[in-house]
Amino acid sequence: MLDAQFDTLLGSFHLDMRFSSESGKTTVLLGESGSGKSTVLRLLAGLLKPDKGLFVLDDETYVDTAQHFEIPPQERPIGYVFQEYVLFPHLSVFDNVAFGLKMQGGISRQEIRQRVGEALEQVHLVGYDDRHPRQLSGGQQQRVAIARALALKPQLLLLDESLSALDIQTRREVEQELRQILSRLQLTTVMVSHQYIDALLFGDQIIVLDQGKVIQQGSHLDLLLHPQSPYIAEMVGVNLLKGQVVSTNASLFHTISLSKSERKDLEVIAISQDDTHHPTKLTLQQEVSVVVDPRSITLHQSKPESSARNVFRGEIIQIVPISATLSETDKKMEGLMRVSMLIDPALPPLSADITVTSSTQMDLSQGKVIYASFKATETRAYL
C-alpha cells in the first residue's frame, strides 16, 4: 500500500496532491509539462523535500513533515528510471547495474554478480556486461537503466517518462518488456507520462494532474465516461461541453444551456445515463458536463431535417487526418478526418470524425460554415 500526500511550493508553482495505490499496482500520472507530475516522483524518491507531506509505503513511513521525519533518498527502497537513461558513462553495463548493490554494501561479490545477471536477463541483455553505455542504442541504454533500478529489488518503481525518448519501434519493444516485468514482479509502480497511451498500457489507475492539482483520478473507463477537464476530454478523444440544466423531464432527457445568455441555438439535449458513480437525475440550474463522441456526430452542408435532436451551426477551424488506410477496390485513400468547428467564440470547438470520402463529397475546408448533428441518446450528461 502506498499513501502519499504532498503540499509544497516551488517558486510560484504550488503542488498540492494526495494519492494512494494498492501494492503491486501501477499508477500513471498524466499531465501537461509543468503540471507537477515529475515533481511528485522527485518527492517520492526524496530528491525534493516537501513543505508538508506524508509518504507511507508498505507500512513504513518515509516522510512525515509533521514529525520532522524524512528518510534520505539513498535509504528509500525505490527504483528510479529517468527519461534520458542517465547511465554512468564511465562505467560498464555490469558496473552500472551493480552500482546500487555496491553502494548499499554488505553484499558479497558473488551475490552481486548473480543479481546483476538476473537483472540483465530480465531486460534481455545477457552478454552485454562489458559494454559501455556509448556502445549501446537508446533502447538498450534504457533497458540497462531499468535493470539498474531492478537489481536493487525496490519496493516501489518510479518511471519518469521512461519511454518518451525512444523511437516508436524501440519504444514498443521496451514497453513490452516493461509490461512483462511489472506483471511478473507485481511491483508497485508510479509512472509519469504525457501520453495517454501509457495510461492505457500500464495504468491500473490514472491520475491526471494540472498545475499541481489532481483533476481526475480513476480507471480508463472513468476518464472515458466522465472526463473532468477539457484536457482529459482531448486526451481520450471526446467532446466535452459544459453547461447548465435549464429543463428536465421524466425520461432523463435534459436540456442544457451551453451559454450564459439564453440562446436556443446553444442548447443541447442530453441524457444522464445509469452509472454507479454518478446520479442519474439532474436538477435544474446544475452545472453539468456533456460528453459526445466525435464519431457520433454527423456533418451537413445545410441545415439537416434529420431526427437528431441536437443541431449546431459553426465554422470549420481545423481539419486533420487521424487515420489513413488504402481502399484496395478503387485504390483510394480512406480513413478518418477530425473536423473541428467553432459553434460559439466563447465555447471550445466541437470535433466530428468523418470519413475522407464524405469530407471530399462535402468539399470541407477551413472557414466553411457547416451544420453538425447528433442524437440525444449519443450523449452523456453528468455532474
Binding site: A45, L47, I78, F88, H90, M103
Partner: protein, 299 residues
C-alpha cells in the same frame, strides 16, 4: 564587415541581372558564401599562426643560445640542482595543498548558492590578476615577524617569512585560484543528473561524489592541477618578496634564473631551458592523460 560585404554582393547581383530568378540568386549567394568561408578560414589561420609563432620564437631563441652540453654542465652545478630540487618539492606540496583545500572550495562554488557567493567567487579570482609582488607583500604583512598573525607566531618561536614554508605559501596563494576556478567550471559543466541518479541507487552524497562526480570531472581536474602546478613552478614575485632569495632554502628555479642573469647570462639561459623543459613535459603528460581519460569514459 562581413555582413556589409554580403549585402554588397547581394546588391550587385540584383543590379547586374535586373530581376534574377530565385534559384540563380540562391546559387550565386551560395558561391559567394563559400568564398567568404575561404577568406574567413585564411584570416583565422594567419591570426592563429602569428599567435603561435609569437610564443614559439622567443622560446626557440632560448634553446638556440643554450647548447645541450652547456645545459648538461649547468645541471651538475650544486646551486642549480638545489634550485631544481627545491622547485620540485615546493610545487608538489603547494599543488597537493591547493587540491586538498581548493576542491572543497570549488564544490561549494559550483554546487551551492548563498548570500555572498559572488563575493567568494571574486575572492578566489583576485590572486590570478593581482601582481605577484603585491601578493607577496600581503603575505609578509600577515605572516611576517610584525605581521597580523606573524607577531603571535613569533612569540611561539615560529618563523614563516624567508623560509621554505613561505615559498610553499606564496605558491599556494597565487596558484590555488587557478585550480579552484578550473575545477569549478568542470563541476558546473557536469549535469547534476548523474548525482541524482546515484542518490536513487543507494549512494550517500559522499559516495555519489567519490564514485560518480569525481571520475567524470577528473579530466577537468587534471587540467586544473596542471595549471596550478605550472603557475606555482613559475612563481617569482610573491616568492622573492615573502620568502627572499636564499640558495637551498628559498631559491627556486625562477629565482635562480633571475640571480644568474645578474652575473652569468649563459647560466641563466641554461636554467631557463631546464625550467621550460620541465613545464612542457609535465603539461604535455597531463594533457595526454586527460585525453586518455576522456576517451576511456567517453565524456
Amino acid at each position: 564587415m562581413e555582413q556589409a560585404a554580403h549585402r554588397a554582393s547581394e546588391n550587385s547581383n540584383t543590379l547586374a541581372t535586373g530581376v534574377t530568378s530565385q534559384t540563380t540568386a540562391r546559387k550565386k549567394r551560395f558561391g559567394g558564401s563559400s568564398l567568404t568561408t575561404w577568406i574567413t578560414m585564411a584570416i583565422l589561420i594567419i591570426l592563429a599562426g602569428t599567435f603561435f609563432l609569437y610564443l614559439l620564437v622567443p622560446l626557440a631563441a632560448l634553446l638556440f643560445h643554450a647548447p645541450p652540453s652547456q645545459i648538461w654542465e649547468q645541471m651538475q652545478q650544486p646551486d642549480v640542482l638545489e634550485a631544481l630540487k627545491l622547485s620540485f618539492v615546493t610545487t608538489a606540496i603547494s599543488t597537493a595543498l591547493a587540491v586538498v583545500f581548493g576542491l572543497p572550495a570549488a564544490i561549494i562554488l559550483a554546487r551551492t548558492s548563498f548570500p555572498g557567493h559572488r563575493l567568494l567567487e571574486t575572492l578566489a579570482t583576485i590572486p590570478t590578476v593581482l601582481p605577484p609582488t603585491v601578493a607577496g607583500l600581503a603575505l609578509l604583512l600577515t605572516y611576517g615577524r610584525m605581521g597580523l598573525i606573524g607577531q603571535y607566531l613569533n612569540v611561539l618561536g615560529i618563523r614563516i617569512a624567508f623560509t621554505t614554508t613561505a615559498v610553499v605559501m606564496a605558491q599556494i596563494f597565487v596558484a590555488a585560484p587557478f585550480f579552484v576556478n578550473t575545477a569549478r567550471s568542470g563541476l558546473e559543466q557536469l549535469h547534476n543528473r548523474y548525482e541524482t541518479a546515484a542518490y536513487t541507487l543507494r549512494a550517500s552524497p559522499f559516495q555519489a561524489f567519490r564514485h560518480v562526480v569525481l571520475p567524470l570531472v577528473s579530466p577537468a581536474l587534471l587540467t586544473a592541477v596542471g595549471l596550478a602546478w605550472a603557475r606555482a613552478l613559475g612563481e617569482f614575485g610573491a616568492t622573492i618578496t615573502f620568502a627572499g632569495n636564499f640558495p637551498g632554502v628559498t631559491q627556486t628555479l625562477p629565482i635562480a634564473v633571475y640571480t644568474a642573469s645578474q652575473t652569468n647570462l649563459d647560466k641563466s639561459i641554461a636554467i631557463s631551458v631546464i625550467l621550460l623543459a620541465v613545464s612542457f613535459a609535465v603539461l604535455l603528460t597531463l594533457g595526454l592523460a586527460r585525453t586518455w581519460l576522456s576517451k576511456k569514459w567517453s565524456i
